[in-house]
């Protein structure tokens, strides 16, 4: 029944979003089976950490914004002997950092980074935090003032299963990674990969490297990943 409905719907769907023509009927049907809770399984938790660890050179100065319990910095302190500084607001994160020996400042990112001088870090990391900020663009700009390079990762709401979930389900998508409903989510500024790339182009920011988690694996970003990437990690610089 559902399949039959979809057959009729498909031309309509493609008209609404040409990107969906790339998706096979089987995939759509599989996705529909989980409508209401988009299956984004496969992305290993903190997959970004491994990528970031490869990007950051030994001895770099690293500022990790929204560093949680300091897992990434602890790793970088050990393997790359970085000069690391974490920033976290949640008490459990802050106490976790202190316990790990990761230096942490308990401050609110929504108050900006004005106390940090220009170019005082080589890398400023913003892992899975962008979408929780009140003024995400201001923070992105601040990151590129404070650091030579910024590393930003976020979930891509342009991913086709998320689009389909909204299109067919008619409710804000709830995913495994972001298991919140519209009213209780800390993710107040959801974005698509393409939104981010638009900002990059408009502000003449260079993308030095880009990685995505798509189709079950971590790989370099490709054309059209706005539809396929579940999560993205971009290294940007001025």
């Amino acid at each position: 029944m559902m399949r039959k409905n979809l057959e009729t719907l498909k031309p309509l769907l493609e008209k609404m979003d040409p990107a969906l023509s790339k998706v096979s009927m089987e995939e759509i049907v599989a996705a529909m089976g989980q409508a209401g809770e988009v299956e984004l399984a496969g992305a290993p938790s903190r997959w970004e950490d491994q990528v970031i660890e490869k990007i950051i050179p030994k001895g770099a100065r690293v500022l990790d914004l929204g560093c949680g319990e300091g897992e990434l910095l602890q790793r970088l302190l050990r393997s790359k002997q970085v000069l690391g500084q974490g920033v976290e607001l949640a008490p459990e994160g802050v106490f976790g950092c202190v316990a790990r020996g990761v230096p942490v400042l308990q401050i609110d990112l929504d108050r900006g980074l004005k106390e940090f001088p220009d170019g005082s870090f080589d890398y400023v990391v913003l892992e899975e935090t962008l979408q929780t900020l009140r003024r995400p663009i201001e923070l992105l700009q601040e990151m590129l003032r404070v650091g030579k390079r910024g590393i930003v990762s976020f979930p891509n709401f342009g991913f086709w299963k998320v689009r389909l979930d909204l299109l067919l389900g008619g409710r804000m998508p709830v995913t495994k990674q972001l298991p919140f409903r519209w009213h209780d989510t800390p993710n107040i500024h959801l974005l698509c990969l393409q939104d981010f790339l638009d900002w990059v182009h408009q502000h003449r920011v260079k993308v030095a490297e880009a990685h995505v988690f798509a189709e079950g694996k971590v790989r370099k970003m490709q054309e059209g990943d706005n539809l396929y990437a579940q999560q993205c990690l971009l290294v940007v610089e001025k």
Binding site: L77, P91, V102
Partner: protein
């Protein structure tokens, strides 16, 4: 069942004399939770006429955090037990030049020490006390009677909640040293000590001393004890400023430093609060230019100073929670007042302080507190330059309701370290206890102490 302190009565009241209450149960060997010093509140049924208790059940996080349940008695496995102040002559004959000029030719330092110094002498935790503190930081003073320090009879040291076997600063692992500061009145040379040149108490002829002088004297003490380097130096309030000064003056000798509820200098408002207390002492008819030893001293002035200061140690919401506007109604109201509970509390605080503190010491120590400015001392007024001296791992911790050293001031200190290129920890603990939080919030404070002091030598540079 010994005693209980009722925190909360649970409405609706059960008819009859018995009522369910949440209470803190006094020290009682039957209740092992209490013996080990945890502050878990219990729900008990209390006979309101006799205060007898029955039916103890433990509650889980049903209540806000409370002050400590019961002190760990000297025989508790978690107490450092009976303690004894020791005294060492640090300066004898030769002259110790002081920061603001002047010198003292004989300096004794009273200190307490618990736990065993390791062979490598690398397990020392140095505790710096605040304005009215002393070297007696944990355990029970066995000489309280001989030394006349009666306030120690019923209470353990001022930070007993976090120091002891198995506590946050575990004396099975660390050797804890706490010295009394120069100019104080608890065993270290101060204005009440006898000036060897005259055979009389120094009084106001005692030279002004600074936070830097205190730290210098503490460094000399550690040298005498054969301790080259400390694992961690810790202090709250004026003690926090000493911890900061330690890390600035002796960066190579301090592995870690924790600054609780303190900034690189006191705010103007803080100096103003001190001005009131200092004025009260100096205008007391018994002050006599500091020469009051052997006769009645400026007790009223000192008591008022303490009352004033005590207000700055609490917070508005904390005071409201503790006292509300409760008062004893009088049949014959008088403009002299004094009915409010908060009034009698402050009066009591003032009175009991007079019994244990010397007014001249109060003047010298508040002078040092007013004048300390780490940036002036080490960076020509520039705090970031100052912080470039640091080599220790630093933790700055503020408390949300502290209005003496506000979270913003502590945050600025932490940021200055960050701007100086030093990794730093800054934590703001939510609390209603105001400036006193570092003494009261044993759970978060204990957690920070334990993990920061115990942290491994990580990859951090």
């Amino acid at each position: 069942m010994s005693s209980c302190k009722i925190l909360d009565r649970h409405p609706p009241a059960i008819p009859g004399l018995w009522q369910y209450c949440t209470a803190i149960v006094g020290y009682c060997p039957l209740v092992c939770q209490v013996r080990t010093g945890t502050c878990t509140p219990y729900v008990v049924r209390v006979n309101l006429a006799t205060s007898d208790m029955a039916e103890i059940t433990q509650t889980q996080n049903a209540l806000p955090r409370v002050r400590r349940v019961a002190d760990d008695p000297p025989d508790s496995p978690r107490s450092v037990g009976w303690t004894e102040g020791k005294s060492l002559r640090i300066v004898d004959g030769q002259v110790l030049a002081l920061e603001k000029g002047g010198s003292i030719s004989a300096i004794d330092v009273e200190y307490e020490m618990y736990g065993k110094l390791s062979k490598a002498k690398d397990n020392v935790v140095l505790i710096c006390h605040a304005l009215s503190g002393d070297a007696h930081v944990a355990g029970w003073d066995k000489n309280w009677e001989q030394t006349g320090r009666l306030y120690r009879k019923k209470h353990p040291g001022w930070w007993d909640t976090v120091i002891g076997p198995g506590k946050a600063i575990d004396t099975r692992k660390y050797c804890v040293v706490c010295p009394n500061v120069l100019g104080s009145c608890y065993g270290t040379t101060g204005p009440a000590s006898i000036n060897p040149a005259t055979g009389k108490p120094y009084g106001l002829s005692f030279p002004v001393v600074t936070v830097s002088d205190w730290v210098k004297v503490q460094a000399l003490l550690l040298e005498k004890l054969g301790i080259e380097r400390v694992r961690c130096v810790i202090g709250g309030s004026l003690g926090g400023q000493q911890a900061l000064e330690w890390a600035l003056a002796y960066p190579e000798r301090v592995e870690r430093a924790i600054v609780f509820a303190a900034a690189h200098r006191l705010s103007t408002q803080g100096v103003a609060f001190n001005a009131v207390g200092r004025r009260a002492i100096m205008t007391d008819p018994h002050f006599n230019q500091g020469e009051y030893y052997g006769r009645p001293g400026p007790d009223h002035g000192l008591a008022v100073a303490r009352m004033m200061a005590h207000i700055t140690y609490l917070s508005e919401e904390g005071m409201h929670q503790k006292f509300g506007r409760q008062k004893k109604e009088s049949d014959t109201p008088s403009a002299l007042g004094g009915e409010f509970e908060v009034e009698s509390y402050l009066r009591y605080q003032g009175q009991s302080f007079v019994e244990r503190f010397d007014a001249n010491s109060y003047l010298y120590i508040t002078w040092a507190m007013n004048h300390y400015d780490a940036a002036d001392r080490w960076g020509g007024g520039d705090l970031v330059e100052t912080c470039k001296r640091l080599k220790s791992k630093m933790l700055v911790c503020s408390f949300s309701s502290d209005w003496l050293y506000t979270p913003e001031q502590c945050r600025q200190l932490a940021f200055a370290m960050c701007r100086a290129g030093r990794p730093v920890n800054y934590v703001n603990v939510p609390s209603n206890y105001g400036h006193d939080s570092f003494l009261v919030e044993q759970e978060p404070v204990g957690k920070l102490l334990e993990s920061f002091i115990g942290g491994e030598e990580g990859g951090e540079r």
